[in-house]
Symmetry: C2
Subunit: 355 residues, 2 copies
DNA sequence: CTGAAAGCGCTTACAG
DNA sequence: CTGAAAGCGCTTACAG
């Protein structure tokens, strides 16, 4: 225990000052039950002795560990850093520590991870569920971050609306033959994004979906996507549901001698770390993870506080809040007007560029 | 507290079975002080009641929280997922939970983050220090993962040797005019890698370093690196100290119509998520994070166990172990023979390809 | 404004 | 093989 380290505990401070531990505790917690002068003396002595309160003692007494859990489907996911960082920050602001657990994309391990966290005494947890998983009954409040179309979702980006922005952006640039690049048709997030993209395009637009996972099952991981063929077939834009896939499209196009954005537009999702540094920089959509994390943590903390007074036997479970956080379109250089159409069509509004 | 949740604690089990809590505790911990039959009965009752031991009670009594801290310079770093995943796994295997802390690349916040972890009662921590930071005195064992040339480093990849492999690979492909792409000259890791790259090239090789941070300070973030000019000047290979920079080089070359690897070879570092999926796939160097994490956690746990019996007043501090973990070269398609040289030089050994 | 006392749940010598 | 008792450090009614 930390407090065993330097040996300074409440008793040490109390006896050094010839007061009771109750007084020291009250002084330190600043509830105003102790005179100002004594409070000051206690504070000084505590600092002098390098007092660090024992979380174990406090937890045992109050029944609150001050720790939240974060369960992720796969820490190796490129989006994870953003999520973890935002959750850690929001939790710290609310006075909680964050214990991580990786479910390695496996449903059984997800359950194990959740149980490990429970055993470690977390008061609540944030779960980013594995694709298509539904969180069973958990013995503490749970906030789920997935997609608005996931039953039991607590908060997430409005992926559909984000897709809509992408679709509209492409429509404004005059694109009406668009290849949508997805990975896995079982993902709610991806389906939301794809639905949004379609809805933002003009009614006359022709779209085609390429599912990478299906393609790779046939041709092996890392196989070509055949994007140059699509360009030859008259497609002028590629809208990927992730910057990872957008990057794959971009480099494959470039390697095949197709200029982006002059000959083909590429858009991604999530504003991952490489989006601004590749050439041409990737047009993408960013979610406001800080806000999502705030909503999740706030909902979690409220739920924790609500269940602690009354001793309802088992009150845990998913915190339903269903907030959708709006996404932000970031237009960079990988998207441009449909040059094929340009000749006989004047409606295309050139997209403004940010960099 | 978790244990308050279902109400089942040792006492509940003990009274249900008309035995003492000591016996229940001994039975459950399996130290063999209890008869086999009673142990079995206790186990069943515990399961029946959904008993979850209270970490707070145990921690208070034993003085061990069972939690380790992980301090990262910047969670948004693309390498972070690998590190966090490996540390979490190694810690879980050793029976520890992992509390995360983000120092946001700031020295002051790094200290704060460390203190927060101490207050949360971690028994030890793994720190990936901010560039150039030295960890001050910390009140618990600390394992530092940085680079072998960082004073006080506990374990890390052998970045120099990894660079050496890259240099040798390039030399074998016949490259003797190489641009090295670094970001920050203050980074031990980067300097190790660069030193290694140079050492692996032939003595006659000409190298030039481009520091991205310096370039961006002049020309703004995301500015062109001018790699096409380098090719025009006769450079045939670009060795970046990170896949992120390698990606930047690759896309800039492609955008300028230069074919990789036919006209220029590109190599990276770290085998980040996009390395295998871009076209051409990136030749890179991978560190064995699982092994690094194992060494770090093992060292940490040993140090924790050593200091607990004797009550040395302040025994925390950096665990010095200085293990170098070898890196693995992964040859993909972004590196190829020096075609300029090929004509009048037969020594180049065509690199084997893995994919 | 301050103190004595109880108790959170656990483990561990110590007796029997 | 089993039990009674103490105590880890804290907070919180309850007295004074």
């Amino acid at each position: 225990m930390n407090s065993g380290r330097t040996g300074a505990n409440l008793t040490a401070i109390a006896s050094a000052l010839n007061v009771s531990t109750a007084t020291v505790s009250n002084a330190l917690s600043g509830k105003g039950r102790v005179s100002a002068e004594l409070t000051e003396k206690v504070r000084q002595k505590a600092a002098e002795l390098g007092y660090v309160p024992s979380v174990a003692g406090r937890a045992l007494r109050t029944g609150k560990s001050g720790v939240l859990g974060l369960v992720l489907p796969d820490i190796a996911n490129p989006l994870f850093p953003q999520i973890a960082q935002a959750i850690e920050k929001a939790a710290a602001a609310a006075g909680y520590g964050v214990l991580i657990a990786d479910s390695h994309g496996d449903v059984a391990m997800q359950t194990q991870a959740i149980n490990r966290l429970i055993e470690r005494g977390v008061e609540g947890m944030v779960v980013v569920p594995r694709r298509g998983t539904r969180i069973g009954t958990v013995d503490c409040p749970v906030a789920v971050i997935d997609s608005p179309s996931t039953p039991g979702n607590t908060v997430s980006a409005d992926h559909w609306e984000g897709g809509h922005q992408v679709g509209r952006h492409l429509a404004e640039l005059g694109h009406d033959r668009v290849v949508i690049i997805g990975n896995n048709p079982d993902s709610n997030v991806q389906n939301d994004r794809i639905g949004g993209i379609r809805s933002g395009l003009t009614n006359a637009a022709h779209t085609e979906i390429v599912w990478i996972s299906a393609l790779e099952k046939q041709n092996g991981a890392g196989c070509p996507l055949g994007v140059a063929d699509k360009v030859a077939q008259g497609f002028t834009a590629f809208a990927a549901v992730s910057d990872l896939h957008a990057l794959r499209v971009l480099t494959e196009l470039q390697r095949d001698g197709i200029n982006v954005p002059e000959q083909a537009t590429v858009t991604g999702f999530d504003d991952l770390i490489w989006a601004p540094v590749v050439t041409p920089a990737l047009t993408t959509i960013r979610m406001d993870m800080a806000r999502i994390a705030d909503v999740a943590i706030t909902a979690l903390v409220r739920s924790i506080d609500m269940e602690s007074p009354d001793n309802s036997p088992v009150s845990g479970g998913v915190v339903a809040d269903i907030s959708k956080v709006v996404m932000e379109l970031i237009v960079r250089h990988s998207s441009g007007p449909n040059n094929k159409k340009q000749a006989n069509n004047k409606t295309s509004t050139a997209g403004e560029r940010t960099s």
